[in-house]
Symmetry: C2
Subunit: 359 residues, 2 copies
């Protein structure tokens, strides 16, 4: 990987180094709100085949970058590829969300789980990472990702999406040791998977703890945060001198920002239920901060989008350490031109906050 | 209403007066987890007819009290009866949730809304309140309730449940003045409705702000909390010397407890994402606290339910000012015997926390 990185704002901001303007990318920036994505997905036939075909995964990863001046690419994939590689049999039915053919329901099911070899069972992801890195030609850095062990466990046990998490929480309260065994093997799988993404060319990593926020504080610490900390500690984090940055994001986790920052991660992602001035005051001296525009702002008119972008930038304030993003994934119903308004507004309106300290 | 109240633990705890044991009731304590509820609902034909027939609403309100030693009854109804009375045409389709035939979509729709007369358009609710008070024979107090204006507005604008709140948030960001007009008339309707429930015999009131937690901090203050404060300020709160207690509950609102307490409400309901020792430290000198067992604990085995009940009681600690409840409604899949375990455990395990200060 000797290609020079032309735009290193993301990596600099994650390391809290000066930048000219605040870098911006969007969770789910490749996705259903883009007509070109829907066309590629239709060509693939279904969502799993889109994930499993490196050329198509690469194509959709690059689509938003062709439209908007984004400061990062993020691997197009799904957090559930890891449990799929562990043998659970993932499929996506239209409108129904993810489904596992063989959910984990018993002690025996858990004992049978093993850590997949990312270059074998998840080879299609690693091939996609290599291809995307090549096709990016150093334009922007590539972010790799995985789901958090707790978040993956909710799907592995429920068998898909859930409204009340009856099974996984029943296990948590009744047989915590058994849930810990599931989380341990899943954590090892996630670590191997993220390290393989780094080896294949990912330049930053993000762990999505989508369902950490449904836990009590003590259950969050025991069943989610502990495994996030293990992941951060065990990542090779790059083969060069500098460690690859790791972003941790617990949706609904704004009460626990200090504890998330204390894992040793590089950056903490936050949703929109907390103001960035508070976030910066609480953890800004330890980590970079990623977020946190309400994704629903993209349903508003362009002048309102600019106004809300300005507010998030003002909340963070001057100086480095901020990566602009939504507080959750971009919604399928959003007008792509509204995403453009957001990205351009971040670059334009953030410049004064970096004046005199630019690189 | 000259019937003597035999069990006044709830009212005493809400006023932070000494009690012998911690009072307990469960959000959605009358509901689908009870076979006798399902039988009555089947007899009613559909959910709306169940709400609109005072004898049946009374019957299901009393069902959980016949099973468990609960310390309060809560009116069986739905938060969406108010927008229905405002002309939106509510129905419930099986498995689909609530639907409005005439959702609010335009400025003209909002201008047409007016405050219903609770004794006319919502007479069936008032008749239910009167009948339940009579049939309770002073066994326990009766809690009346309403949805918060913001929560009602989400359904009124979306037309039903929503995943991304595109319409209501689009309006919030694009045309805040228009949303405020909707919230104003809805607040007036809620105040009239709650006052009418008090006049009909409700002895405490609760306002459910189910969707306040999806807002940014500033949007929460402007579009939800301001209207909660208005409601608290404008309630007649009882016709006797003592004001009727008002409980405010914003799900996902644990970041804003101080601001909720500052409305002047009697008690603040909290979900399970915050520990009660923290809640008590932050607002316990101003208000009573209601909550906050994770409803999913009821999927666990009885000994685990007792253990988690003990933890919530220990978190609150000694002395008055705690009403035990779940952090959200009881789920349809719960075994009714598990609800019994919870209720009995609260009474049994809370006694030491009130020793020496009992009434």
């Amino acid at each position: 990987m000797i290609t020079k990185l032309h735009n290193d704002r993301l990596l600099r901001a994650l390391r809290r180094q000066p930048v000219d303007v605040t870098p911006v990318w969007l969770m789910r920036q490749a996705g259903r709100y883009l007509p070109e994505y829907r066309a590629t997905r239709a060509r693939a036939g279904n969502f799993m085949r889109l994930c499993q075909t490196p050329e198509l995964a690469c194509e959709v990863t690059l689509q938003p970058l062709a439209r908007f001046p984004l400061d990062a690419a993020i691997l197009f994939s799904d957090i559930l590829t890891v449990p799929d590689a562990m043998g659970l049999g993932l499929s996506f039915s239209e409108g129904e969300g993810p489904q596992f053919a063989r959910p984990v329901r018993s002690s025996a099911d858990i004992e049978q789980l093993s850590v997949p070899d990312p270059e074998v069972e998840l080879r299609y992801v690693m091939d996609a990472v290599r291809l995307i890195r090549q096709e990016l030609h150093g334009q922007v850095p590539l972010i790799g990702f995985a789901g958090s062990p707790w978040t993956l466990a909710t799907y592995m046990i429920e068998g898909g999406s859930s409204k009340d998490y009856a099974r996984v929480k029943g296990l948590l309260y009744d047989q915590p040791a058994l849930l810990h065994r599931l989380l341990e093997v899943t954590t090892q799988a996630v670590i191997a998977y993220l390290n393989a993404q780094l080896a294949a060319g990912a330049q930053a990593l993000m762990v999505f703890d989508t369902w950490g926020g449904i836990l009590t504080p003590s259950a969050y610490r025991e069943f989610s945060l502990a495994y996030l900390a293990w992941i951060v500690a065990d990542l090779i984090r790059g083969t060069s001198n500098e460690q690859a940055p790791v972003i941790l994001f617990t949706k609904g986790g704004s009460a626990w920002l200090e504890e998330i920052a204390a894992t040793g991660c590089t950056a903490v992602g936050v949703d929109w239920t907390v103001d960035l001035n508070e976030v910066r005051r609480r953890i800004g001296s330890q980590v970079a901060v990623q977020g946190n525009l309400d994704p629903a702002v993209l349903y508003a008119a362009p002048d309102q989008i600019r106004r809300q972008v300005a507010q998030v930038l003002a909340d963070f304030g001057s100086g480095p350490g901020h990566v602009f993003n939504l507080g959750h994934g971009i919604q399928p119903g959003v007008d792509p031109e509204h995403a453009r308004v957001l990205v351009e507004a971040v670059h334009e309106l953030s410049r004064p906050y970096h004046a005199g300290i630019g690189n």
